[in-house]
Symmetry: C2
Subunit: 604 residues, 2 copies
C-alpha cells in the first residue's frame, strides 16, 4: 500500500508545479544548463525513513546550503568561543552578498552570509593528511550517508565571477578575521559550494541535523550535538537571508536555502525536509521551495510554536498500591492489613517525556502527596526520554523523602534515571510487581507483624476453611510434610500430578514459558497458599515450574492419598473437592476483577 505521506507530498508537488515565477541562478558552467522545471520534495525522519517525490535523484549544487554544515564543522572543531570570536550570530537582515562587517570588530554578522561563510572556511583546517576541503566534503558525506563530490567545472565557473567574494576575503583579512591566505579561504568556500547533492541527500542531511548530528541510517556522528544546536539557532534567525522573519513566522523551522534551488528545513528531533526547484525569488530563495515549505509546515504542524506542544503532563495515574496489588496470594489477615494501610504506599505512573513540563508535574505530584504516604513508587516503564531537569530534581526529591522518613522507589527497567540516584538510599526495581511486593512487605512489617506469622498452620489454609474440624483432622492425617531449600525446584514442567502442596512457611514462584520459549514468573505464593492445583487431574501434567524462593515447608496431599480418600470416604472427598473448587472460583473471580480493573484503568 502506498504511504499516504507519499500521496500527500505528490499532491503538494502537483499543485506547486503550476508556480512559474522566478528565474534560476545562471550557473557559469559550459554546457551545464539548468532545467527550471526540475522539482522534488523529500522528507527524512530521525529514524531514517525517507519519503521522496519528483526528481529527487537529480543532483544540484549545495551553494549556500554548505554554510550551516561548514559552520557546524568549525564549531565541532574549535568550540563556540573560538568561532564566535570570528563570526557573530546576529541576523543581518541583509542580502546574502552584502559586504557587512561589524563596525568595531570587523566580525561578519553571522555564518549564513558570504562574509561569515568565507571566514568559517578559513577556520577549518586540514588534518590527518586531509586538506580542509577534503574534511569538509567528508563531513557533508557523513551527514548525507553517501559519498558526495565537488563539481570542478562549477568551481571554475564560480571562481571566474567571484570578484565580490574576493573583495570580501581580502576585507576580512584586513580586519584580522581571516588569519591565513585570503585566497585559500575563498577557494575552500567556493569549492564547498559546488558539492553536489540530490534532494534525497539534502533531506537526509536535514534529518542528521534534526538528530543532533548523527546520521539516522549509518549511525555515524558527523557533527557535535552542541555545534548542531547552535547552527540550528543561527539558521532560525539568519538562514533565509532578508526573508528570515517572514520565514520564522510562516514556516517556523530552522532552514537554509541555496541559489542552486535547494531548501533544507529541520524539525529538531523529528525530521529534515528538502525541496529542489531552481527558479528563485528576489531574496535568492527557491520560489517553489518556499511555497512547499510553508505548505508542509502548516499541514504537518512543523512550526516550532506548535511542534513543542507535547508532554504537558507525564502522570498517567496516581493510585494506592491496592489498585494493582502484587501477584502474591495473601492470607485474609495480611490482605486486611494491606487494605487498611494501602494509602501509605502510592504508585505514580508516568508516561511520555520527562522534559520541563513532565518533570515539573511529577515533582509537584510528589510534593503534594498526603503526609501519611510513606512510600511512593515512581513507575517509569512508559517514559520515553528524560531531560537534565529530571536527573537533577528527582534525586533531590528522593533525598527529601528520606529526610522525612519516607521512601521514593523507582521502577526503571531501562535505567533512564536510576543512575542519578544514590544507590544506598533508593530502591530501584526492574519489575513493577517486585516494587509492589517491596511496599507490601514493608507495610506488613510495620503494621501487621502478627498477621505475617512465619508459619501458617494447616487449619488456617483458606482452601480448607469450608471444612469442619473432623474433616480437617482426617484430611490432614493423610498429608506428608515436605521441605525445600531456597532456590530448589519443587515441580518441573511435564511431571505427573503429584498432589496438592499446602505451604506452611516460606514462598514459592511458579514459572511459565511463552510461545518464544522465554520464561517468566506467573505468580509468587506464600504461607497459607497451595500449589499443584493447576494440575488437579490424574491425566494431567505439570504445566509450570515451581521453585522455592526461600526455605519452604509444606504439607503434601498426594495423588495417592486423594485416591485413597475417594475410595474410603467418598462423602468427605466430595467436601474436599468442593472446598478446592470453591477456592479456585474465588481466584477466578479475583482475576477477572483485576483484569477488568486494569482494562478500565488503561482507558484514559
Amino acid at each position: 500500500m502506498e504511504s499516504p505521506i507519499i500521496t500527500y507530498l505528490r499532491g503538494v508537488l502537483d499543485e506547486f508545479s503550476e508556480l512559474r515565477d522566478g528565474e534560476p541562478y545562471p550557473v557559469n558552467i559550459p554546457g551545464g544548463a539548468i532545467d527550471p522545471d526540475d522539482f522534488a520534495i523529500a522528507l527524512a525522519t530521525v529514524d531514517g525513513q525517507v519519503y521522496e517525490v519528483g526528481d529527487s535523484d537529480k543532483e544540484f549544487l549545495l551553494q549556500s546550503l554548505s554554510k550551516p554544515l561548514s559552520y557546524a564543522l568549525a564549531l565541532s572543531d574549535l568550540g563556540t568561543e573560538a568561532v564566535d570570536a570570528k563570526v557573530d550570530v546576529e541576523p543581518s537582515g541583509d542580502p546574502f552578498h552584502e559586504m557587512s562587517l561589524a563596525e568595531e570588530t570587523g566580525r561578519p554578522a553571522n555564518a549564513m552570509i558570504n562574509a561569515g561563510a568565507i571566514a568559517i572556511a578559513s577556520l577549518i583546517k586540514g588534518s590527518g593528511g586531509r586538506s580542509a576541503i577534503r574534511r569538509i566534503v567528508d563531513t557533508y558525506s557523513a551527514c548525507a550517508g553517501r559519498t558526495l563530490r565537488t563539481n570542478g567545472r562549477a568551481y571554475q565557473g564560480e571562481r571566474a565571477i567571484s570578484d565580490r567574494n574576493h573583495a570580501l576575503a581580502y576585507l576580512l583579512s584586513s580586519v584580522g578575521v581571516i588569519d591565513g591566505r585570503p585566497s585559500a579561504a575563498l577557494e575552500t568556500y567556493l569549492r564547498q559550494c559546488t558539492v553536489q547533492v540530490t534532494t534525497r541527500d539534502l533531506a537526509m542531511i536535514g534529518a542528521t541535523l534534526a538528530n543532533g548530528g548523527t546520521n539516522p541510517v549509518t549511525g555515524v556522528e558527523a557533527l557535535d550535538p552542541q555545534a548542531v544546536e547552535r547552527t540550528l539557532s543561527v539558521m532560525m534567525t539568519s538562514g533565509m537571508y532578508d526573508d528570515a522573519g517572514d520565514w520564522v513566522a510562516r514556516v517556523g523551522m530552522p532552514a537554509k536555502s541555496g541559489v542552486g534551488g535547494g531548501i533544507m528545513a529541520v524539525l529538531p528531533g523529528q525530521a529534515g525536509l528538502a525541496v529542489f526547484s531552481p527558479p528563485l525569488d528576489q531574496h535568492g530563495n527557491s520560489v517553489r521551495g518556499t511555497a512547499t515549505s510553508r505548505r508542509v509546515s502548516q499541514d504537518m504542524e512543523l512550526h516550532f510554536v506548535r511542534s513543542a506542544r507535547a508532554g504537558r503532563s507525564a502522570i498517567r495515574s496516581t493510585h494506592t498500591i491496592d489498585r494493582v496489588p502484587s501477584r502474591i496470594r495473601r492470607t485474609e489477615e495480611a490482605s486486611a492489613v494491606l487494605a487498611e494501610h494501602s494509602q501509605r504506599a502510592v504508585v505514580v505512573e508516568l508516561s511520555g517525556d520527562l522534559f520541563f513540563a513532565g518533570t515539573e508535574s511529577v515533582v509537584r505530584e510528589l510534593s503534594d502527596l498526603p503526609d501519611d504516604v510513606e512510600m511512593a513508587v515512581l513507575d517509569l516503564r512508559r517514559v520515553n526520554e528524560v531531560g537534565p531537569l529530571a536527573l537533577s530534581v528527582l534525586p533531590r526529591t528522593a533525598e527529601r523523602f528520606e529526610a522525612e522518613g519516607r521512601q521514593l522507589i523507582l521502577v526503571d527497567p531501562d535505567g533512564l534515571i536510576d543512575h542519578a540516584f544514590d544507590d544506598e538510599h533508593t530502591h530501584t526495581f526492574d519489575d513493577h510487581d517486585l516494587a509492589i511486593i517491596h511496599c507490601e512487605r514493608t507495610l506488613l512489617e510495620r503494621y501487621g507483624a502478627e498477621s505475617m506469622p512465619a508459619e501458617v498452620p494447616i487449619e488456617d489454609a483458606p482452601a480448607l476453611a469450608m471444612l469442619d474440624a473432623d474433616d480437617l483432622r482426617v484430611i490432614t492425617a493423610l498429608m506428608e510434610p515436605v521441605s525445600y531449600d531456597s532456590g530448589e525446584v519443587i515441580r518441573r514442567v511435564g511431571q505427573r500430578f503429584a498432589g496438592v502442596f499446602f505451604i506452611l512457611s516460606g514462598a514459592v514462584s511458579t514459572i511459565a514459558s511463552d510461545a518464544e520459549g522465554n520464561r517468566f514468573r506467573l505468580s509468587t505464593l506464600s504461607a497459607g497458599m497451595m500449589i499443584g492445583d493447576l494440575a488437579l487431574a490424574d491425566t494431567d501434567r505439570q504445566e509450570t515450574t515451581v521453585k522455592a524462593e526461600s526455605d519452604t515447608r509444606a504439607l503434601l496431599l498426594s495423588a495417592d492419598a486423594i485416591a485413597t480418600l475417594e475410595a474410603d470416604d467418598p462423602e468427605l472427598a466430595v467436601r474436599l473437592w468442593r472446598a478446592l473448587a470453591r477456592e479456585a472460583y474465588v481466584r477466578v473471580d479475583a482475576h477477572a476483577r483485576a483484569v477488568a480493573a486494569r482494562i478500565r484503568e488503561t482507558a484514559p
Copy 2:
C-alpha cells in the same frame, strides 16, 4: 515539602544576586526611585502552577514588554494581512530606538522596535464604549489574570522625554503607516508602556502566550491563538533588540525585555518565565534577567531545539489479537479457529502525541502490515494530543484499507480522531474488548462457520469433558431446561446460590460493581460455558449480576439436585466436583498467564 523547583530557582536567584553590572533605566517620575537590588524570578506553567522567588510581588513598568501584547491584540482584531501591511516581521538588528523604516514602503521592520510599536498602537481602536488604551489594559489584564493599571505619573514623565518617539510618530504618519492623529497613537503607546505588573503577573502573561492566548487559571481567551503564534515567531527573531541572535542561540525561546527591568520568555505549550531586575546592559536588556534566562533555559532544556524532541514514535506495540483476547470464554473449537487465523487481525497500540513524527510512524506501520492482515485495530486510549496531519492521513488510510477489502477499526473513547472518519465505513469502539470481540466474530464468521454452532450440546461442555458417558447421563438427567430473553437478568447480586447453569445457546454477561459503585462488565460467556460457578458454595451469595445478552437457553444443575446427587451417589459427586474444580483451575491458569503477559507487555 518545598518543591525542588522553588529550591532550584532560589539557588539561581542567590547566585545571580552577585551580578552587579549595568545601570537601571532612569525613570522620570518624581519620587519614583528604582531599587537596583530588586530581583525576582517566576515560572508559570500552562496548567496554572506558579513558582516564584524574590521580590515577585513588587510592581514595575511593562515598558517594551507591552509591545508583543499589543501586537497580538492588533493581530487578533485585524488579522495578519492588515497588520502586515503596516508593520513587517523582519528582524532589524537595530537598537530599540532606531528610526528605521523600510526604504520603499515606510513600514517599520517589526513590532518590537518603537516605530513598529507606535504603528501597532495606532491600529488598535476603541470599541463598545472602551477607548483603545482601555481595551489594551483590559487585554493585558486578561493575560495576567488580574486587573492591571497604568501609572499616570510615569506616563507624564515618559511623555516629557519622548521627542524621539514624537518624531517617529510623525514620520510614520508622513509615509502613511499611521492613518489617524500621530499624537493619539503616541499617547496610546506611551500609556501602554506604563502598565504595572509584578514578576508573577509577567510569568502568567508568558504562560498565557505559551497556552495559545488563553489564561491557564481563569480560562479566559485573551488573545487569538494564531495571533499568539505569529507574535511568538516575531519575538523569536526580534524580541531582544540587537541581541536577538545570541538570545536565540543561548536561550532559544521567544522572549521580550523592557527597560523597566523585566524579561519574559515563553516555552510554547509548556511555560512562561519572567525575571525582574532593573540594571540593564548596553542593549537595554536586564543583566540579571539575561543571565537567569540563559541559566534556566540550559538547566531545564527549554531551548526550542531541545524542547521539540518528543513523540519520536507513537507505537507502543503491534500484536495479533490473540495476545490479549476478548474476555469471551470460547469453546475449544472456536479458540482453535481464532488461534489459526489470529494473524489476520492485529492491534496497533499507540501512545504519546500524534503530531508529525507520531503520525508518520503510525501510517508507516499500517502501510507495512502483511498482506494477510484483514483487520487493524488502532488503539488510541493512550494518545494525548492529535495534530492535523493525523486527522487528514489516517482517514485516507482507512479508505485505502476498505478499497483493499480490509478494515481499520478505532478504539477511541475520547473521540480524538473518529470525527474525521466516515462513519459508514469505519468501526469505532469506546472499549478495547468490544473491538477485539468484533474482530473475533468476524474471523469466526469467515473461517469457522461450523465452529460456532447455534447450540452447544451439553455433552460438549468443557467443564463436563472429564466425565464418562454414564456419569454424564446421570448428571444431565438431574438438570432442568431454562431460557431467558435478550436483556433479561438471570441472577442478581445477593441472591442465594441457585446451582450451575450450562449455556446451550446465546450469550450472557456478568456485571460487577467497583468500590465507587460503578458497574462494569466482568466477562461475556457464550454457548458451552457455565455460570453460577462463582457462588459454588451453599453458604455463598451471588456476587455478580448475570444478564442475557441475547436469547439464551441453558440447563440448570440446581443446588437441590447437587445435594441429592451428593447424598445418593457420593462417588459420582466426587467426579463432578473434581471436573468442576479442574475447569476452574484451567481458568485460573489462563487468567494468570493473561495478566503476566499484559504486565510483561506494558514494560517497555
